[in-house]
């Protein structure tokens, strides 16, 4: 039948070509596969293609649990966005990670209403949201001896639910979770030999989650070498002196003596390190501790290809274990940086051994699979509370401040070093050393020099024992060590490098193509002794930016009002230091009018990053062609703000920030952007002087009269999403009024309430980003 139609059409000579030439084979050859297992199918990445039943959106809105968020990546829109979520559940007994007999007590897990900040272990996973009853049907590649690995959970306090796995229509596994076991992940491995279709079904009354299901093919070959990135928070480069294990590692690999962070605090520094460029260029600057809704939306709309997402799409497990909420999507202070599973271990002291134990357990369990493991040790970060025994062990290196806080800080570094050593030992024991790239670095330093102590008035923040809002070498210089025996050359690089170079180096070591146009560059040429011109380091912070090049450091503040420790108030918008003559940066040459100043200003301006343009949801209003001409007049009003993008064949006059006067002739098109995308849109239109009824306006990508029942032409709440169209509607030929919007890539995110801000204040004080009482 099909054949007949096509032959007839072509025979009839009415076939128009829709063919395109074959795509050129521009994909680079994949990296060699290593012995091991392969992740053959990651279900969360295919959630959009699955056939899903169940009232997900309603159940999600009804779920009163704070540590949850819709996963922003994957391009799922509308109600389909509710399929993949990021859910953090507390380990039932945090003490299991502690050390027996340790002086510090731990509290039992509980759930904070807004912030997930109790001392506990939170296991966060990209998960399929599965309220009962629901079914996800996936077509999967048939894998002989394939194993389905996943975790299941019901929401804290939820009723019982039964989880059922069907393979090719046969029930192959089932497990019920009673209410008493709610709120924690239960790991499972299920054989699904050669199944072509897998159904994940939930029945009962509870709200279930399928935590990061993957299909594993045994002995298929791992996609490539593993990567472990160990971040030791707030680690200054001079602290290396009290870290024998890190020194040993540095001697076996690539050690960068002059590594400069890309940002002065953790989240932007992580973004730069995982994205190979400055945080602003990637999509989220260092300026705001809590990204505003539109910032957050923009970041996800840009959808930066961060390392975890890049490697996960190549079949890696992307797991983070640490004490750090900046890479999580559900706290307002964090951003989802693309890790599929995050173990967040919240304890100021016991975190270090617990992170190590969890890391070693991960290595033992996943030694045969390709993985990206990010470990985040918080030890040297404020508060400096090392286990007491480390205080006696450390000797401050020459030039390091000698006060008690400085000693406590160094003891924390030594504490982290000892546990880092255990991870290194585990790699050797598991014979993973030669197939695992190990990267150890500090994300930024800390101010201990009283000469750099002042209060930044714009932020009401002191700089001593802090970071984030000043940019001296104390903060900028961090350790950077990379080791992979047999692959990464043993070398000591004294030239200046930046943490933006970490991601390109990792890709280079893995034999993967580097992304063109990023600021970061691979360090391997330097390691091999290739001489090159100096890499300029640009650093972003809150209220502060700096450029470091040619032996000079130039620092610029957006708001230069400072209060010195003696109470004097000054305004210092820029500072300049000659690093060769003044390594401690005590003599600001900017005020002296040094001739270098102009050059550094020029360099600063040249290196200043610009934010990417995020795809915006453009609203289109179009008049379809008709046999006779029409004039359409009226207004568009929104409770957000409206800006004009394009007006072809139309007169568009802004009356104020919220209102446009419109006059369209014939097949005219008006394109505007409304911010926020959730804002209400109201239209009052006439055609040739006669009012246009809501039923005459065709809405969305299918051009349907969805407002037929409405009294007025108003789109608000859920109805705003009716505008979203994957493509422009067919115009038709009847002079119809078409209204649609390019889809925004992110579904509505919860707004930050005033109450949340209070919580954030608490949070930042606890974490040392704010002083008590401020």
């Amino acid at each position: 039948m099909r054949a007949l139609i096509v032959v007839t059409l072509i025979a009839g000579g009415c076939a128009r070509s829709t063919a395109s030439p074959p795509a050129p084979g521009d994909a680079p050859a994949p990296a060699a596969r290593l012995p091991g297992d392969a992740i053959a199918f990651r279900f969360v990445e295919h959630a959009g293609e699955a056939q899903v039943t169940g009232a997900l959106d309603e159940a999600w809105r009804a779920l009163a649990y704070p540590a949850k968020v819709l996963r922003p990546y994957g391009g799922l829109r509308g109600a389909a966005a509710f399929r993949v979520v990021e859910l953090a559940l507390a380990d039932a007994d945090v003490k299991t990670y502690g050390q027996p007999g340790h002086a510090h007590q731990t509290s039992a897990a509980r759930y904070d209403p807004v912030w997930n900040r109790t001392r506990a272990v939170y296991e966060s996973k990209s998960a399929l949201f599965a309220p009962s009853p629901s079914r996800y049907r996936f077509s999967v590649p048939p894998i002989a001896g394939g194993v389905l690995r996943l975790a299941i959970a019901i929401a804290p306090g939820s009723d019982e639910a039964e989880f059922v796995v069907e393979a090719d229509g046969r029930r192959v596994w089932a497990r019920a979770i009673p209410r008493s076991e709610s709120g924690s992940w239960i790991a499972e491995e299920i054989p699904v030999d050669s199944a072509r279709e897998i159904v994940l079904a939930t029945t009962g009354k509870g709200v279930g989650f399928w935590g990061y299901p993957v299909l594993i093919e045994r002995d298929a070959g791992a996609a490539g070498a593993n990567v472990i990135v160990v971040i030791i928070d707030t680690l200054r480069s001079d602290a290396l002196a009290v870290m024998p294990r890190l020194q040993q590692l540095a001697e076996r690999g690539l050690r960068c003596d002059q590594a400069i962070t890309a940002a002065t605090w953790t989240r932007p520094s992580l973004i730069a390190m995982l994205g190979g460029d400055l945080p602003t260029t990637i999509g989220q600057s260092a300026e705001e501790m809590i990204p505003a809704d539109r910032e957050r939306r923009r970041f996800y709309a840009v959808s930066p290809p961060l390392l975890p997402r890049l490697l996960a799409s190549d079949g890696y497990l992307a797991r983070a274990i640490g004490n750090n909420f900046f890479l999580l999507g559900y706290p307002q202070i964090g951003l989802d940086l693309g890790f599929d599973e995050v173990d967040d271990i919240r304890h100021p002291v016991l975190d270090t051994p617990a992170i190590t134990a969890a890391a070693i357990a991960f290595l033992e369990a996943h030694a045969r699979e390709p993985f990206l493991l990010q470990l985040h040790y918080d030890a040297p970060h404020w508060p400096y509370t090392p286990p007491p025994e480390y205080l006696a062990r450390v000797t401050p290196p020459p030039g390091f401040p000698e006060d008690a806080l400085a000693r406590a800080y160094l003891a924390e570094a030594a504490y982290a070093d000892e546990y880092l050593g255990r991870v290194v030992d585990a790699l050797a024991r598991l014979h993973l050393e030669e197939r695992t790239l190990l990267v150890v670095l500090g994300d930024h330093g800390e101010i201990f020099d009283h000469a750099h102590s002042h209060t930044v008035e714009a932020l009401h923040q002191p700089t001593l024992h802090h970071h984030g809002w000043s940019a001296y070498d104390e903060i900028l210089r961090v350790p950077l060590v990379m080791a992979m025996p047999g692959t990464v050359p043993t070398a000591r690089v004294t030239a200046q490098v930046s943490l933006v170079d970490v991601e390109p180096t990792i890709l280079d070591v893995l034999g993967r193509p580097l992304r063109p146009g990023t600021r970061g560059r691979s360090l391997l040429p330097l390691a091999r002794g290739v001489t090159e011109s100096e890499r300029v380091a640009f650093v972003e912070g809150q209220d502060v930016r700096a450029v470091r090049a040619g032996g000079w450091l130039y620092l610029r503040r957006s708001d230069g009002r400072l209060t010195r420790d003696d109470g004097t108030r000054v305004t210092v918008d820029e500072e300049l230091y000659d690093l060769a003559r003044d390594p401690l940066q005590h003599h600001d040459l900017a005020r002296a009018g040094d001739p270098q100043l102009q050059q550094m200003r020029t360099l600063f301006a040249r290196e200043l990053p610009t934010a990417p343009v995020a795809p915006e949801p453009v609203l289109h209003l179009q008049i379809a062609p008709d046999v006779r001409p029409h004039i359409i007049e009226g207004t568009l009003r929104t409770d957000g703000t409206v800006s004009i993008r394009n007006a072809a064949g139309a007169e568009v006059t802004p009356l104020d920030a919220h209102t446009l006067a419109l006059r369209l002739r014939d097949a005219a098109l008006v394109e505007v952007v409304i911010d926020p995308p959730t804002a209400q849109v109201a239209l009052t239109l006439t055609r040739d002087g006669m009012p246009i009824a809501p039923s005459e306006v065709l809405v969305g990508g299918f051009g349907l009269p969805l407002l037929a029942g409405a009294r007025a032409l108003v789109l608000d709440g859920e109805r705003v999403t009716w505008l979203d169209a994957a493509r422009a509607p067919v115009p038709g030929e009847r002079g119809e009024v078409l209204l649609w919007r390019d889809p925004s890539t992110v579904t509505a995110l919860p707004a930050v309430s005033a109450r949340n801000n209070q919580e954030v204040g608490d949070m930042m004080r606890r974490w040392g980003y704010a002083q008590p009482g401020k």
Partner: protein
């Protein structure tokens, strides 16, 4: 050197085969005279350049094969001429001159070709109607005269006479008779002189025959075989109506022996989605094939189907078809053997290459020619059901011995309703002078008069009759081989057909849901294994119920699906299962037509705008149109009493209700009189439409979220 070549050529031409080859090769050039100026059928310049760029070598290759075919046929015919000449020369004790030999070759080639050509034209006129009938004038007159006045038997008779004159007559000359007597005497002598050899030969012959009979007779299966006979576009009334027995005796006889589901309905009245629904037991929005141009990814994601579960249950599974069954070559449904034509851009190129050369068609479409021209199998004009029946018989011989599940899918009754001689004339009026003398091409823009409509129905019935006879042959063989008693035979159609029988409903299937001609199909289950008694089942059953029913009948796991086991109805334990049937329209090739006029549908581009060509030459609906095509579908629900139709338009959704008991032709919309029924059926239809997990209701409209 040149002179050597010249003399070789001269000698070759002067020989009979050489002269024959040369003459027929001239037809290769002749074909181009007056051929369509369109390049390979593509009039579009851009398409042409792409086709030449991508398939240029293939086009040249096809032309060379055609030229070679002419040469081989010409040489063969010339050789016959030469042989005949030799015999005559011998009989008359003469010797032909070089010139005579050449003339004999030419004459034999021309006469032989004339016979084959006219015979093929009478047998399969649809192949030639583009080159002759459609062009009008003398060509049309000659073709109509040939098909009206010549029969295959007459032509074969003339040919046999001619051949006998050419080859056998010399034997009866005086010299020939003497020679024959000598041979007979010598053969008898040889046999009597070697008695042992003779006995051995006779014994071998007997044993061989016996073995063959034994092999056929002992194909006892542990589980019943299942033979699924599917007839494309077969309407339920062509099997169940009162006069069916007269016109289509085999179908009627088969129905009289089985359980007759009188109200079987398919969900999508088009071949591809319908077969996937029938064999998976899942509704189209659950298996993902909702139109005939799915992407490769969608085809791969169909999921488990009846043939795969039967295979796991120890069955050999196979599907055989002519052109409309090409879908099976691209669709993983679990068949072990897929013997269907392949259809893609290369097939189109090959078919168009052939259609430029009507003179080669008699040879290209012959059994031998199809080895060189496999694209012929994918030609609708050449879907002779008798050929498919022969192939099915061979296949059953091959499969017997292990339980088998064989689907035989006859395409002939699908438009263009191109049936071979004599079927295309069986029900048609000789006096008919319209454009649809031999077939009804799809999408033809000609206005259809009542006489045309009657002709089209007669062509359709002719195609059904041809299929009826072919099925008779297949079933007879099943009986003769003793396989029938172990075999469950299922007769069904993938969809029905509108045949201009009700005003405003046009012709075809899948374009609208007005009336039930397209979604109402025959379903008959003949089960001698379980001894199911023949009976009528008037209750509604659906395509999705077939897979679970057959799986239960033979005792294998059913693929997970939406249907139910109809066992209780088969065994007569229950009268009905309270099932509701659902339907949806398929892809609209044109912007409007009967039942989907501009104000009765949501707009989207026609086939050239909405489809794209994959690098492997496969055609699929562009991703950006896939959702639009689905949103625009009309949908319906049918209960024992009512049918509710959902038609989304830009003026809102048009809901229409029909009382199928009092108004079986569905002519009176009674939605206004029965608002409560509308509400109830609408609720059920909405639940069905949204059961794919990604469709939601926005106002009255079902849209993907």
């Amino acid at each position: 050197m040149l002179s050597t070549i010249r003399s070789v050529v001269r000698r070759a031409v002067a020989s009979g085969p050489g002269a024959g080859a040369l003459v027929l090769s001239l037809f290769f050039l002749l074909d181009f005279v007056g051929a369509s100026l369109e390049f390979m059928g593509f009039s579009d310049e851009k398409a042409t350049s792409i086709i030449i760029h991508r398939y240029g070598a293939r086009i040249v290759g096809e032309q060379l094969v055609i030229l070679a075919t002419y040469a081989v046929v010409g040489a063969t015919l010339g050789a016959v001429g030469a042989l005949s000449g030799c015999l005559w020369d011998w009989a008359q004790r003469g010797s032909g001159s070089r010139r005579r030999r050449m003339l004999r070759g030419v004459l034999a080639a021309l006469l032989g070709h004339a016979y084959f050509f006219v015979r093929s034209l009478v047998h399969y006129p649809q192949l030639y109607s583009e080159a002759f009938f459609d062009r009008g004038g003398i060509r049309r007159t000659l073709m109509v005269a040939a098909t009206n006045h010549l029969s295959l038997r007459l032509l074969d008779g003339i040919a046999a006479l001619g051949l006998a004159t050419a080859l056998v007559a010399p034997a009866f000359s005086a010299r020939g008779r003497v020679r024959i007597d000598w041979w007979i005497a010598h053969a008898a002598g040889a046999l009597t002189r070697r008695p042992r050899l003779t006995a051995a030969a006779v014994a071998l012959l007997l044993v061989g025959t016996g073995a063959a009979v034994y092999h056929r007779g002992h194909g006892h299966a542990t589980r019943p075989n299942v033979l699924l006979i599917a007839v494309d576009s077969l309407r339920a009334d062509r099997v169940f109506s009162a006069d069916a027995a007269r016109r289509f005796p085999t179908l009627a006889r088969l129905a009289s022996r089985g359980v007759r589901f009188r109200e079987a309905h398919v969900t999508v009245p088009r071949t591809f989605p319908s077969f996937v629904t029938l064999l998976t037991g899942r509704f189209p929005h659950h298996h993902g094939i909702r139109h005939m141009f799915p992407t490769e990814a969608a085809r791969k994601a169909i999921g488990p189907a009846l043939p795969s579960t039967l295979h796991e249950g120890g069955y050999r599974t196979a599907v055989l078809s002519d052109y409309a069954g090409e879908i099976f070559s691209r669709t993983p449904l679990g068949f072990d053997d897929i013997r269907v034509p392949y259809f893609d851009m290369k097939t189109i190129i090959a078919q168009r290459s052939l259609q430029v050369h009507p003179n080669v068609l008699p040879y290209a479409t012959s059994a031998l020619g199809r080895l060189a021209f496999p694209a012929v199998d994918a030609m609708p004009e050449r879907s002779d059901p008798a050929l498919l029946a022969d192939r099915a018989i061979t296949e059953i011989d091959r499969l017997a011995g292990k339980p088998f599940f064989l689907t035989v899918f006859f395409s002939t009754a699908h438009f263009p309703y191109a049936s071979p001689s004599p079927y295309y004339q069986r029900f048609t009026a000789r006096a008919y002078a319209g454009p649809f003398r031999y077939q009804k091409p799809p999408l033809s823009t000609a206005t259809v008069t009542p006489a045309d409509a009657a002709q089209i129905r007669a062509l359709y019935d002719g195609a059904v009759a041809a299929t009826d006879d072919a099925i008779a042959r297949l079933l007879r063989r099943l009986e003769d081989d003793g396989i029938a008693r172990d075999t469950i035979v299922v007769l069904l159609a993938d969809h029905g057909e509108n045949l201009y029988d009700v005003d405003g409903r046009g012709m075809g299937h899948g374009d609208h849901l007005e009336g039930s001609s397209a979604d109402h199909v025959p379903l008959v289950v003949v089960d001698p294994v379980h001894g199911l008694a023949p009976r009528d089942v008037p209750a509604i059953v659906r395509d999705v119920d077939l897979a679970p029913t057959l799986a239960a009948l033979v005792g294998v796991n059913a693929p997970p699906g939406d249907g139910v086991d109809l066992g209780p109805l088969l065994r007569g334990e229950r009268d009905g299962l309270g099932l509701d049937a659902f339907s949806e329209t398929e892809f609209w090739f044109t912007s409007h037509g009967p039942g989907f006029e501009a104000d009765e549908r949501l707009p989207y581009p026609g086939i050239t705008g909405a489809t794209d060509l994959a690098t492997d030459g496969d055609i699929f609906i562009k991703p950006e149109w896939q959702d639009t095509v689905v949103v625009a579908k009309h949908r319906s629900i049918r209960t024992e009493r009512w049918k509710l139709i959902y038609r989304p338009t830009r003026r809102g959704v048009d809901w229409r209700l029909f009382d199928v008991v009092t108004d079986p032709d569905e002519r009176r919309d009674v939605a206004a009189q029965h608002p409560d029924v509308v509400v109830e059926l609408r609720r059920k239809l909405v639940a069905w439409m949204t059961s794919d997990g990604r469709t939601v209701m926005r106002g009255d409209f079902a849209v993907p979220e």
